[in-house]
């Protein structure tokens, strides 16, 4: 018994010794694993001799990289040209920049007879024709757009155009596709849905929906969103976000309702979607019904799924969910992407390898959750973890992007063109910030400036402030020879302002302006510019205007220095808006079924007359460069509503109403001043005249009113909606008409009756 015990004990000991000898190290590690991890973390060793290590390259090598006997830069560029044809196209190899030196002009091939284009392609072509870059002369064109409808390249489709190759070869301008832009929404066909267009696109730039990252030529092609044929030409519906709620307060967290592909491409992702359905805050519904022979492939889920599917309404889900799953369809993009964007339902993208629309410009990380098809099951927990503030920011960004780049065919096409234009001169292009901040890239002209501080929109985001001075800009049309009394008084009042940097007079008469000696002496420099009689001239971006703020004036405007001072200080708080004195308002006339306009005193305002208003000088550039010439011609033709157009433009940019500031009661003198140089009642009436006490002069007055009304309606038509926004308030000095000693008030003169 004893020996046996001893023996056993020895064996036991020996085996433990063995165990420790071989495995002790590992065992120790187990203990560490289960115990404190941090202490045991094995970091990269601190080598004792690490200071003796050699550098990865000696300085000489870094600074003298390469030897001069290499290919010369010119030869190398030529070599690239031959190596990287079509499939490897880049702007520097496949695009002829020299065609664009005289400006960015786009030529659309003339429509050929018997060659009808689809409704959508018609919209695209008319968007280009409406743009300010359109030209009818192929000689001056930088970019060419075909008249052949290339949108639907699914050869099973009814809109498929045959023999494109042949037709293209017949075009003398084709030139291997160089400087051509080809639009496409659908490519490939069942079952593979490859990116094939079915003809040789050569060196043409592709603007294509559902682009995949592998065939996308970065910096050359443009990925566009898929849009339906009902997508409006211009204007476009606004987004559905009307309120900011934190937490989002929506019924559902995450929704999907769509087809489940039983077979074929992308059935993997669509087949898995039902797994995340929980019937409570996550609704993911699929139907098997699609195509003619779905019943052949139907599986056990189908019947129940199809029933559930009918219980929910797609629109209702879209309206009531915080996140929307946007999985790939047969192709990578789908309509639901834009639908979710408009609905402020944050898109959760499950479409691996999709080159997102306009990703060259748009930072999608701010507006969408870019998920991975492989990680579908993580999506619910991932979206639940997103903080409420971030959700709020996402929602707002969807609305901004929708409105800035997607809500109409015009916007989609113009964004495409601007992206290409930006590539032509990188130093005069929009930074990524500009594309992704309000009011969006289309409304920011890099030709005006590339400095953010020169625009009215970014002061707060970048910690700038608008300039502390303004330029008074007076449009004078009175007869030559002598200066009228009102203009002299006006110059005096304006130059008395401590914030006035300069006065610029736009002389709108053909007769030459009075010699410099006749102009009043003032403490600020005065410049006279000879202009034409065109009304749109007053919003030309004159070099002479040096300050951010412009005080636009008519010669017969009557203002006092303190009015100007106060209004300027208000403008500094609202530099992106028009801040002015006399106002008017618009309203919808249900009887006539059109927009109406009133100059009567009302409780609301939506138009500030530019006869006396502060605004940012950038709006001169937008007015002249951004708006198409047709609108300015309209204004000049009617000789009536340049101020309405300016107000409409600023409202379209800011989505905000203008601001009215206090105005001293008008003296009636000077009202009768009607300049000889004007055609009758065509000019803007002086501020004091618009109110009921001074009725407009008979037929002339009513003709003017109807002209302006007509103009308003034509502008609304061009913009596709009515951009003007109404306001119910007026800004007064803090102590305005308060019962306190006049001595305490900074602007007592504003209260004088």
């Amino acid at each position: 018994m004893q020996t046996r015990k001893k023996y056993i004990f020895l064996t036991f000991l020996a085996s433990w010794l063995l165990l420790f000898f071989f495995g002790g190290d590992q065992l120790r590690r187990f203990a560490l694993f289960s115990g404190k991890k941090a202490e045991a973390r094995r970091n990269w060793p601190r080598w004792t001799d690490r200071t003796l290590l050699k550098s990865f390259a000696d300085p000489e090598e870094l600074q003298r990289d390469g030897d001069p006997s290499l290919l010369s830069p010119r030869e190398r560029r030529a070599a690239w040209l031959s190596v990287y044809r079509s499939s490897g196209c880049r702007m520097e190899t496949c695009f002829d920049f020299s065609r664009c030196e005289r400006g960015f002009k786009v030529f659309t091939y003339p429509q050929e007879r018997g060659q009808p284009v689809s409704e959508t392609y018609g919209k695209i072509l008319s968007s280009i024709q409406r743009s300010r870059y359109h030209t009818l002369n192929p000689e001056e064109a930088c970019l060419f757009v075909l008249s052949i409808d290339t949108l639907d390249r699914d050869h099973l489709s009814g809109q498929y155009v045959r023999n494109v190759d042949e037709k293209i070869r017949g075009f003398p301008l084709w030139n291997g596709g160089r400087n051509h832009l080809i639009f496409n929404l659908y490519s490939g066909t069942w079952p593979g849905y490859t990116g094939e267009l079915g003809f040789d696109t050569g060196q043409a730039i592709l603007a294509k929906a559902s682009f995949d990252t592998q065939s996308f030529r970065p910096g050359f092609d443009v990925s566009i969103p898929l849009f339906s044929k009902e997508h409006p030409q211009r204007g476009g519906d606004r987004g559905w976000l009307y309120r900011h709620s934190v937490p989002p307060r929506k019924k559902y967290l995450l929704v999907f309702k769509g087809k489940r592909y039983l077979t074929g491409i992308s059935s993997g992702t669509r087949n898995a979607l039902h797994h995340i359905h929980n019937g409570k805050d996550i609704i993911s519904l699929t139907t098997c019904k699609h195509g003619k022979d779905w019943e052949k492939h139907k599986d056990t889920r189908c019947d129940k799924d199809n029933v559930d599917y009918e219980r929910f309404d797609y629109q209702e889900l879209l309206h009531n969910s915080t996140f929307c799953i946007v999985p790939r369809g047969r192709r990578l993009g789908s309509f639901r992407f834009l639908e979710a964007l408009q609905a402020a339902c944050i898109p959760v993208l499950l479409s691996d390898g999709w080159e997102l629309p306009f990703a060259e410009a748009i930072d999608w990380g701010k507006a969408a959750v870019v998920g991975s098809e492989r990680l579908l099951l993580q999506i619910p927990s991932a979206v639940r973890c997103i903080h409420p503030e971030r959700v709020l920011a996402f929602q707002q960004q969807t609305q901004f992007l929708w409105d800035a780049y997607f809500s109409s065919v015009d916007k989609i096409v113009h964004t495409t063109l601007e992206i290409i234009k930006d590539r032509l001169s990188p130093h005069r292009s929009r930074s990524r910030f500009l594309w992704n901040a309000l009011p969006g890239g289309l409304l920011v002209l890099p030709d005006f400036s590339t400095h953010l501080g020169d625009f009215p929109f970014y002061y707060l985001q970048h910690g700038y402030s608008p300039s502390k001075k303004f330029t008074a800009f007076i449009r004078a049309v009175s007869q030559a020879g002598s200066l009228s009394q009102p203009i002299l008084r006006l110059i005096q009042a304006v130059s008395g302002s401590q914030y006035c940097a300069q006065i610029v007079v736009l002389w709108g008469c053909q007769k030459p302006p009075p010699p410099s000696g006749q102009w009043p002496q003032s403490s600020v420099p005065l410049t006279v510019i000879q202009g034409s009689r065109k009304l749109s001239d007053r919003f030309f971006p004159f070099e002479a205007i040096q300050t951010d703020a412009v005080l636009s004036l008519d010669e017969d405007t009557s203002l006092s220095t303190s009015e100007v001072d106060f209004a300027f200080l208000v403008w500094r708080s609202f530099p992106e808006r028009i801040v002015g004195f006399p106002t008017q308002s618009h309203f919808w006339d249900p009887e006539q079924g059109r927009w109406a306009y009133t100059s009567k005193w009302t409780n609301e305002l939506s138009i500030v007359l530019t006869a006396a208003a502060f605004y940012h000088r950038y709006y001169h550039s937008l007015f002249t460069e951004f708006l198409p010439a047709g609108l300015r011609e309209l204004v000049d033709g009617l000789a009536a509503c340049e101020d309405i157009l300016m107000n409409v433009l600023v409202a379209a940019v800011t989505k905000l109403p203008p601001i009215k500031v206090t105005q001293r009661k008008q003296h009636k003198e000077g009202v009768a001043q009607q300049a000889e140089c004007r055609d009758g009642a065509a000019g803007t009436p002086p501020p004091g005249q618009r109110s009921p006490p001074a009725p407009l002069k008979g037929t002339a007055g009513s003709r003017r009113l109807s002209q302006r009304q007509d103009c308003l309606n034509r502008l609304a038509d061009w913009f596709g909606y009515m951009p003007l926004v109404s306001s119910q308030l007026r800004l007064d000095p803090v102590l305005f008409k308060d019962q306190v000693s006049v001595l305490r008030k900074k602007y007592p003169s504003l209260e004088k009756p």
């Binding site: 056993i8 036991f12 085996s15 063995l18 495995g23 190290d25 590992q26 187990f30 094995r42 060793p45 601190r46 004792t48 001799d49 290590l53 550098s55 390259a57 870094l62 003298r64 990289d65 390469g66 030897d67 690239w80 520097e92 920049f97 990252t213 592998q214 970065p218 009307y242 900011h244 934190v246 990380g365 701010k366 870019v370 991975s372 492989r374 991932a382 409420p388 503030e389 709020l392 990188p426 130093h427 292009s429 930074s431 910030f433 590339t450 400095h451 020169d454 707060l460 910690g463 106060f566 208000v570 009302t602 500031v661 119910q728 308030l729 007026r730 800004l731 007064d732 803090v734 305005f736």
Partner: protein, 719 residues
């Protein structure tokens, strides 16, 4: 296996006392323990690379000469060439990364080995100083894991920073034998000098299959967008030379070129530029007649003048960065360090970290063809923008170029952002220099929306025990057309609110919320009962506001939903004698605050006040029972950068500081306290966010000579 052997190990000793009685069982148990132990040990011994022998790691003080040597047989496998079609969704195994609450990828570093070929010749330098620094930085970062099984990304310790220092085929073989290589899936290689003579490829020539490449010199053709990461070429001068930041502004030269090995064709073009524009352009070259011992890399010459490099870069506004044989140039780093705006002339070059950095803000990119126009292009850039670019250039260097650590962490962060896109770092965080981050605001309610009127507002009345006055307020406020709900916050724990039947009968729902503690911050809690965006905070003694005034206030708030819109306005002033802020409630021409005794604001600010108030302000306010309104004014102004809107003319308000009846002394202590609040808050916020304005909002036709009955808000301002 691990779990199994560990379990037996712990159970072993516990079995010993039983052996006396049950020998047989004991024998069997003992043997099985021993056997299992041996099996387990054996398995670990032969489990090849999953866990490195700990002796590699535990000994901290080791020399690089001691690292184990690995011999590569000549016929060991070579990976496929890099796959140009790789993208994250095709070549990256995202399942390795998984979902984790921190949204951080885990990075594993292989231990260092020396690789030799069959003849014992080294395949490459073991490791360079920079690569060692890079791996050290990763190892010290929160991305690092030492557990190969939990890793999402693998970083080989094989140094491929400079292709010239390695043997391509053998290096590839060394990569292929890494324990988790698996065609290079989820492996990240860092390379700064790719290619070699004569054709200088723009990506690393070492066959690497699916491995991700962080490369310094990609062209658009070799860069796999969204897969590879473009990194800078590190300049060792960054560590050696200390160039203090120079304030932005004009410099002595307008354009400077400092590169030594320029292609003659480029040099000719630059010299033509100099000939045209004279003194403002300086084209430097290497020095030919330097005395011995002077490092040639730190000197540049123009004719007989000698300049110190890189210091000379600080003398110029723009610095040319031309491509050499390679696209990526180390001089870019020097230029940025000097705060000189780089003029990058390298067609098809993918700029470093271009996936996240907005290079248009820090550099000028000019196509090679347009080199002759360089001067006029640069001249057309506004001076203010140049100054910002100078600042931005320096910031990019400090944040992403200055050390191997910065480069490594930025690279990992970019990959991390792709895997957890919903937790990605924003554009602003990547690009805004500290000065901008500090002075700018990002308004959380940035979308210009005018909320629909139909929504109405919720009035929140904070009350303690003034029931009579409270009931009057309720009755008055209930007359406002747009009121949609009334919420009474009952802040008195010692007393119950009056019975239901005693409350005034009003047309909208009235809810009473009882609080747990008598705290002022209860007034700003984002109660679920508040279903509208607009909140009207109103004291239980504000009975003097007319229905028109309140309705008008709501309409004004709709036009300015991201601001505080209130009735009594207040001002902060700088007291030059005391050198601190002072609170002012007199009849001033300016306002910078509104009292929240009667103010409209967005419910979101309740959320901010309760959960995001900086510092200890919230507790401080609760402890002092004062200044909650000033805190709210600070909070909103700080986050939006906008002023308050005071509405309607001044009235006599029954509020602490305007009750002159109560005697002057009370009034004065109150003012002192309020002034202290402003100073306290300004120091916590680190700035004075309040904005002073001279305007207030009135109805369009206020005091106009117009029939009162036609005005929307006739009853305004009557005392």
């Amino acid at each position: 296996i691990m779990c199994a052997s560990a379990k037996y190990n712990t159970r072993g000793p516990a079995l010993i006392p039983r052996m006396k009685t049950k020998h047989r069982i004991y024998y069997i148990t003992l043997f099985s323990i021993v056997l299992l132990g041996l099996v387990a040990t054996g398995m670990f011994q032969f489990w090849p690379h999953s866990i490195e022998s700990s002796s590699d790691w535990t000994v901290e003080k080791r020399s690089i000469h001691d690292v184990p040597v690995v011999k590569l047989p000549a016929d060991s496998p070579i990976p496929e060439r890099g796959d140009l079609s790789c993208r994250m969704h095709t070549c990256f195994d995202v399942y390795r990364c998984g979902f984790n609450p921190k949204n951080k990828i885990k990075v594993y570093i292989y231990s260092l080995k020396k690789y030799v070929d069959e003849y014992g010749t080294l395949v490459s330098n073991t490791i360079s100083r920079e690569y060692n620094e890079l791996l050290m930085a990763i190892s010290d970062s929160e991305f690092y894991t030492d557990d190969v099984n939990r890793a999402c990304l693998f970083v080989p310790s094989i140094d491929v920073l400079n292709q010239n220092t390695l043997r391509i085929k053998e290096t590839a073989q060394a990569l292929a034998q890494l324990s988790r290589w698996d065609r290079g899936t989820n492996h990240l290689l860092f390379n700064m000098l790719p290619g070699g003579p004569p054709d200088y490829n723009t990506a690393l020539d070492v066959p690497r299959d699916r491995a991700l490449l962080a490369g310094g010199g990609f062209s658009t053709w070799t860069y796999r967008q969204g897969y590879d990461v473009s990194i800078p070429v590190y300049s060792p001068l960054s560590g050696e030379v200390d160039l203090p930041e120079r304030g932005p502004g004009p410099r002595r030269y307008f354009i400077l070129s400092s590169q030594m090995a320029l292609h003659p064709e480029y040099r000719l073009e630059l010299e033509a530029l100099q000939a045209e524009n004279g003194e403002s352009v300086l084209i430097l070259d290497k020095c030919t007649n330097l005395s011995d011992g002077v490092p040639a890399v730190r000197k540049r010459c123009y004719k007989n003048q000698v300049f110190d490099y890189p210091q000379v870069l600080q003398e110029s506004t723009f610095c040319v960065v031309l491509r050499g044989a390679r696209l990526g140039q180390a001089v870019l780093s020097d230029v940025l360090q000097a705060g000189c705006v780089p003029v990058i002339i390298a067609d098809s070059y993918i700029l470093p970290f271009s996936e996240v950095l907005d290079w248009k803000r820090a550099s000028v990119v000019i196509p090679e063809e347009k080199m002759p126009e360089m001067y006029s292009i640069l001249q057309s850039i506004p001076q203010r923008q140049i100054e910002e670019m100078q600042r931005q250039a320096r910031w990019f260097w400090e944040a992403y170029f200055r050390s191997m650590k910065a480069i490594a962490l930025a690279t990992l962060q970019i990959i991390n952002d792709r895997i957890y896109p919903y937790a990605a770092i924003s554009y602003e965080e990547w690009n805004d220099p500290p000065a901008v981050k500090w002075s700018s605001v990002s308004n959380p309610l940035f979308l210009p929306l005018i909320p629909p009127q139909s929504q109405g507002f919720t009035a929140v009345v904070l009350t303690y025990d003034r029931v009579e006055s409270l009931f009057r307020v309720i009755t008055e406020v209930s007359k406002v057309p747009s009121l949609s709900k009334l919420l009474v916050v009952w802040n008195n724990q010692n007393k119950n609110p009056p019975e239901d039947s005693l409350w005034p009968k009003i047309r909208v729902p009235l809810k009473v919320v009882r609080t747990a503690e008598n705290k002022l911050s209860n007034r700003f809690f984002p109660y679920d009962e508040i279903e509208t965006e607009a909140v009207l905070a109103i004291d239980d003694d504000i009975i003097m506001l007319t229905s028109d005034e309140l309705q008008f206030g709501y309409e004004v708030w709709r036009e300015f939903p991201d601001r505080l819109v209130g009735y009594p306005g207040r001002l902060h002033l700088w007291d030059h004698e005391m050198n601190k802020w002072k609170y002012e409630s007199e009849w001033t021409n300016e306002v910078s605050m509104v009292l929240t005794g009667a103010a409209f604001y967005h419910k979101y600010f309740n959320y901010l006040y309760t959960y995001k108030m900086p510092g200890d302000i919230k507790n401080w306010v609760d402890a002092h029972m004062n200044c909650e309104d000033i805190a709210m004014n600070f909070l909103v102004a700080n986050v939006t950068g906008k002023s308050v809107i005071k509405v309607t003319p001044r009235k006599k308000f029954k509020c602490p500081e305007c009750t002159a009846i109560d005697g002057l002394s009370l009034d004065q202590t109150h003012m002192v306290e309020r002034s202290e609040c402003i100073n306290k808050f300004a120091s916590v916020f680190g700035t004075m966010p309040l904005k002073v304005v001279e305007h207030r909002a009135d109805p369009v036709l206020y005091k106009d000579d117009f029939p009162e009955k036609l005005k929307s808000f006739p009853n305004i301002g009557s005392l």
